[in-house]
Structure formats: structure tokens, C-alpha cells
Symmetry: C2
Subunit: 408 residues, 2 copies
């Protein structure tokens, strides 16, 4: 596997573009289209929130039903959640407009939305937007970037990742994608919005298996604010245009594909955490020496979600008691008196706690380490071999600024 | 039942005081002593955090063992959590010092701590503090207030509540108390620190039953930041000096006592939420029309804990989608399309959502209602008769200020 520069158009068969459909008040880009030249096998994971946005209901039905997918229409102005029957009708009308414009079946069009909850989609602007943006679809690096930018809301940077795979027979394929997510990020089953494309030849069953297998260790381990969105959607489209032997069962080539997908999703998950609303740093938590992977994950996620810990990270304050506290209320049974805790960054590494008690560390060194823009806290439970990572960010004034008056 | 002015000394037999033992760097009051003239029946609830502070371990053993309690020594400078064997030894030494000073058995002394985690108690200062503060113990209103103030950390106001009960035979008793709590507040089994006293004659079994019955609907329904502390402790001492017929079983008098305790704990819980770190308002959430009380509680607590919702409240922004979103990820099964949502305060009441879809409400009116210092959001599920309340506060810059550098 090789990490390469690229996004949603890197795999054979995919075109993309983005632009302004006039949904966002400030006139910035708010619509992206991803288009495949051939019908694609699809896999998807969606929010577990009981309140599901209309596009989530629409896409889940298409993906589950096995309908070949050829386009995704995304708007980043209005969430189309809590919009009742009317909201669902607008999904259908969006698909109808794209079907006409792109000359593909309605059932080949996924839709996705992010933005304010409870407001109806301005369907006329969606129709106009599709007509305006579809003609500019392209395969270039800049076309992928346009799409990655157009799906942003409070994101400050676009998020893309791409790998090149080499299968057992020497054949190659690509997995690339983009995602957005900055607030209301505490994915459960997938991220806010993530669009992945590949040209690998792979069956629908194995594609979904790979995606469902990778999501729990990547996007589901990110938390910005503990709020699981109504719109979380991750779509993976496979054009099958690479020349690998079709992946239809477990085996070496499936593992190559799965490893590549894991790399892309891990990269996107970390980019999303780093760009959490108001964040000044990526806060990575590693739990090691746990008895089971599940327990390691629960512990890691509890620490990365702790409001108090995130505020301490914002202040470059080595207030490690909050980390142990967050582990303690996670629900996992562990022995606090065995825990070692380390802080690490580009500025160095220190052991801050040994066997459950603080070490005689230098506050100056700790502050220096915690002032970098990517910080790793590692807790070693010394009770087994299982480990897990979770990703979050610090909690700053800017988060409050952004969210105290998001709709204005 | 009559709500009266009073605190921890209002019930017959209780004295209190507070002062500076020199544990807090800034020299402000950091030690409180609550003393009973007679050995008391006790009840307690403690944190469920796997990481338990030493005083929690100490008190739980005393209360469970049925040891008559006559004093509580509280320090608000150092949490004495993550302090290993040494921390537990300091609890014993604190009890020994109080035993000598107050001429009561060591086993009659509960201890409680709140403050920074992972720092050892300066036991010499504790000893000196006990010697200094014990002689000033008094029964007056101002003595109760001194204790209530000395247990504060980032609290901005002291928190007391008191009721006078009238039993079936016309006899009277009092329940009074104080609590502290502002950050790391998401109690699970009880609040940060709460000390309740009563002169009612009541058996240990019924006392614990009343406390355990009331806590889940009061302190456990408060959240400031989702962080369940290592030190949560709620102690209830009964001197038995009132002239009521002893309460030893369920019945009319037990219900009188329980209702009084509920009133006191509800009042303290709301005071704690209102004084959440950085808070500018009390945010009360009511779920009604739920199928079960348990589901109503989970939903209420999910909304009141939602970071995004709390930030919207800080901005007086009627971003109701976040409330429905938080209900959606609570894990409770309900029909979003049946939900009505109301905002209410001293400035009025509006229905903001009907049958899961936003109403045509006035943003101006909504902002006015949300600008008061106590705000109630009510969600009606229209699916049953169960209801529950939860209490929290808004999320502001000041919360970040306080917690980014708490230890300095």
C-alpha cells in the first residue's frame, strides 16, 4: 500500500465538482456532485441517531437494496433533518433532477445533507445548482478538491485521503475520498459526511464488510463534542474499473483492500478531529495493556470525550487526574493502581503517572509537550495486550463562539 | 412541609463551622467541620467512578458498617484522589486528629475532599485546621453558612436548603443541608459533596432508603460537563432529637420525610446546576408523555448534557434541532414525528416544534425567552404519562477559562 495525493476522483471512473447553489447565506460553495462513469457497487454506514435526516433514510434504502449507484448530490447548507414527509419528497426531487441532468436512473442517485436542522431544503436552488455544477464535473485533482471544499460547513480545511493498493497478482487499485465534520461530531456507525471511491473490483458483500469493519476503529473513535449527528453518512462506491481479480471472499486481496481502506479512514478521522470546531490541536488517546479491545476502545473514547480533559488540553495543562477520572467513569472495570500515563508530542515524551500515582515530572516539560498541535496521551493498564486509539481535540472559546449563535 | 431558611445546623443537635486551613494557595476558606452533639444514624451515596478518592472509600466503609457518625471533616483544596495507600492513611490521620479534638471515636468521623486530583493531602495543615476551626463550632445560621462557604471550589455562591416537616402526630422535624459543585459535575449516585442533617427519629434502614430513593431524581439528574467525579459524596446524618414517633417502616411519616428530603435535594440540585462553571443560566429540561419514567430520565439527561445545546442556550439561540438530535442519540426508542417542544421562562412560553416539525414561531420572542436566567425546555412525546426533569446550564467562554488552567 502506498499513500498518494488524491481525493474522490483518484480511482478510475469517478468525476467530481463543487460550487455555490445559493443555499448558504454568505454565497460560499454549498453543493458537491460526485459522479461515476459506470454503475457502482455501494456500501454505506449511517447514523444510529433515532432522529434520522431524510437523506439518511433515502440513501440507506438505496444502498441496502443493492441499487447500482452512479451519483451523490451533497448540499452543505441545510441538514434536511426533522423535516417530515416534505423533507423526504425533496430527496426524491433532488434525485429526479440529477437523473435528468446526468442521464442516469433516479435509483442511482444518493443524496446527502449537512447544516441547520429543521429547515426545509430550498428545492429550486438544489435543481438550479445541479444544472450549474454538473457540466463542470471533472477527473482532475482540482475537481476532487472542489467537491471536498463544497461539503464543508464550519470546517476550516478540506479533508482528503488516498492510497494505492497492490494486489497479490500485481494489479493495482486506488481508494480515495473526502469527508467533512467539525461540530456535532461523535459518530456512531460512521462520520458526519464521508465519500469514498475505489476502482477495485469487489463484490457488494465484501465492500460492505470492509467498510463496516473499518468504521468502528476509525470514524467511530472520533469525538469533537459528544453530539451524534442526525446526518452521519459514509458512502463507499466501487467502479470496478481496476484490473484486479474480483474480490468476492476473504483472502489476501481482501486484506490488502481492507488495510487500504483502514489507512484512508484513519487519515480522514484524524483530519476531522484536528479540525474540530474551535480546536487548536489534535488530541490522540491510546489505551494499551487492556484486557480486551472493546474495553480499550471504551476507555479511549471516554477520555477523548471528556469536557474537562479537553479544556485542560486547551490550556496546555498536564491535569492528568481528569484523564484517570474519565477512564474511571467509562464503565470499564480496571485497576487504577496499575495505570501508567504518558504525554507525547513533537516536543518529547514524559511519564506523568506510574502505578496510579503522579510521578515527579517537570511541569515545564509537560507544558512544552502539551503546547504542540498534535498531542498523544497513552495510558498503559498493564493488564493485557489489547489496545485502541481515539481522536479528539481541545475545547476552546472558539467552540463556544461558533455554537452559541450557529444559525445567524 | 414548609420551606424554611436554614442549612446544615437547622436540625436539632448539629453544629458547624468553616475556615482557612491554608490548603488553598489563595488563603481562602478551605475546611468545614460538621459536628453532632449525639451519635447519628447515617446514610450515604457515593460516586460510581471506578477511580474512587480515598475519602469515598473511608466514608463508604463507615456508613455501610453502621458506625454511628458524629463529625464530618471536609477540605476543599485537594481531592485526595489517585493518591494510593498514602491517601487512605491521611483519611485515618484526619479522623484521628478530629477524634482527639472533638472527643469522639475515630470511627465516628467521616472525611470528604474536593479539589485537584493526584496531589497528596498536606496532613499537617489538616491537623492544624481542625485544631483551629473546631473551637468555633456553632449552631447559628451564620455557622451553617460558614461551612457551606468553606466547601466551595469554583462555586460562585454557597448552596443551602432546608424544610420543616410535620408528621402524622403533629410532631415536627427539620431536614437541612448544603452542597458544593460547579465543575466535574455529572453525578452518578450522588453529587460532588452534599451534607444533609435532620433531627427526625428514623432507622438507618429507612434513612438510607429515603436517600437512595431521592438521589436518582435529583442530583443524578444534574450535569454540568458530563464528567462524573472521583469524589462524589452525599451524607445524611439523623440526630433523632426531634420528638416524632420513630420512623422504622413505610407509612405516612416515612412519606412526609421522603417528600421533605426530595424538596431539599431538588433545591440543592438546581442551585448546583445554576452555578455550573461559567454558567449564566439554569437550563431545565422536562420530558413528558414518555412511555416509562426511565426513558424520560435518559432523554432529559441526554438533552441537558448536550454540548451543542448548551452552547446554543449560551447564545440565546432557539436552535431546537440540537435538542431533538440529543434525544435521538440517547438510546431511547421514541417517535420523533410525534414530539412537541416548548421553551419557557419568566419572559413567556412558546411552542417551537409540533409533531416533529418546526412551528412558525417568532425568533424575536424565542430569543427573549432564552435570555432569562432560568430556562425550561419541555418535550412532549405524546406516548404515555411518564415524565422527568434534568438540570444543567449553558456552556460559555468562562467554563473554558476556568478549566483550561484550573491548577494554576
Amino acid at each position: 500500500m502506498k499513500i498518494i495525493d488524491g481525493g474522490v476522483t483518484a480511482a478510475k471512473g469517478f468525476l467530481a465538482s463543487g460550487g455555490a447553489a445559493g443555499i448558504k447565506k454568505n454565497g460560499s460553495d454549498d453543493m458537491a456532485i460526485i459522479y461515476a462513469e459506470v454503475p457502482c457497487v455501494s456500501a454505506g454506514t449511517f447514523t444510529t441517531n433515532r432522529v434520522k435526516a431524510a437523506p439518511v433514510i433515502w440513501d440507506r434504502e438505496l444502498v441496502k437494496g443493492g441499487s447500482p449507484i452512479q451519483a451523490v448530490i451533497v448540499n452543505s447548507g441545510v441538514a434536511n433533518a426533522c423535516t417530515g414527509e416534505e423533507g423526504l419528497r425533496y430527496c426524491r426531487e433532488t434525485a429526479a433532477a440529477a437523473s435528468k441532468e446526468l442521464n442516469i436512473p433516479e435509483s442511482a442517485v444518493c443524496v446527502a445533507s449537512t447544516g441547520v436542522i429543521g429547515v426545509q431544503i430550498p428545492i429550486d436552488k438544489i435543481r438550479t445548482g445541479i444544472g450549474k455544477i454538473a457540466p463542470s464535473l471533472g477527473k482532475g485533482r482540482e475537481d476532487a478538491l472542489k467537491a471536498a471544499k463544497a461539503i464543508m460547513t464550519t470546517d476550516t480545511v478540506s479533508k482528503e485521503a488516498c492510497v494505492e493498493l497492490t494486489f497479490s497478482d500485481g494489479s493495482k487499485a486506488v481508494i480515495g475520498g473526502c469527508c467533512k465534520g467539525s461540530g456535532m461530531i461523535h459518530p456512531n456507525m460512521c462520520t458526519m459526511l464521508c465519500f469514498l471511491t475505489t476502482d477495485a473490483k469487489i463484490s457488494k458483500e465484501m465492500l460492505q464488510k470492509a467498510l463496516s469493519g473499518v468504521i468502528p476503529d476509525t470514524f467511530n473513535m472520533v469525538s469533537v463534542d459528544g453530539d451524534t449527528s442526525t446526518n452521519d453518512t459514509c458512502l463507499l462506491l466501487a467502479s470496478g474499473l481496476a484490473d484486479n481479480a474480483p474480490i468476492e471472499a476473504d483472502g489476501e486481496d481482501y486484506e490488502v483492500f481492507r488495510a487500504g481502506l483502514l489507512e484512508v479512514c484513519t487519515s480522514l478521522a484524524k483530519q476531522m478531529a484536528r479540525d474540530g470546531e474551535g480546536a487548536t490541536c489534535l488530541f490522540e488517546v491510546k489505551i494499551m495493556g487492556a484486557d480486551t479491545k472493546e474495553n480499550a476502545k471504551i476507555l479511549a473514547r471516554s477520555v477523548v470525550s471528556s469536557t474537562l480533559t479537553k479544556a485542560a488540553i486547551a490550556g496546555h495543562d498536564a491535569n492528568w487526574g481528569r484523564i484517570l477520572c474519565a477512564m474511571g467513569y467509562s464503565g470499564v472495570d480496571f485497576d487504577p493502581d496499575k495505570v501508567d500515563l504518558f504525554f507525547e508530542s513533537a516536543a518529547g515524551k514524559i511519564r506523568i503517572m506510574k502505578d496510579g500515582v503522579g510521578t515527579d515530572y517537570s511541569e515545564e516539560t509537560a507544558t512544552k509537550i502539551l503546547s504542540e498541535d498534535a498531542i498523544l496521551a497513552t495510558a498503559d493498564l498493564k493488564s493485557g495486550d489489547a489496545e485502541a486509539y481515539a481522536w479528539g481535540c481541545d475545547l476552546t472559546h472558539e467552540y463556544v463562539n461558533i455554537n452559541a449563535d450557529y444559525r445567524s
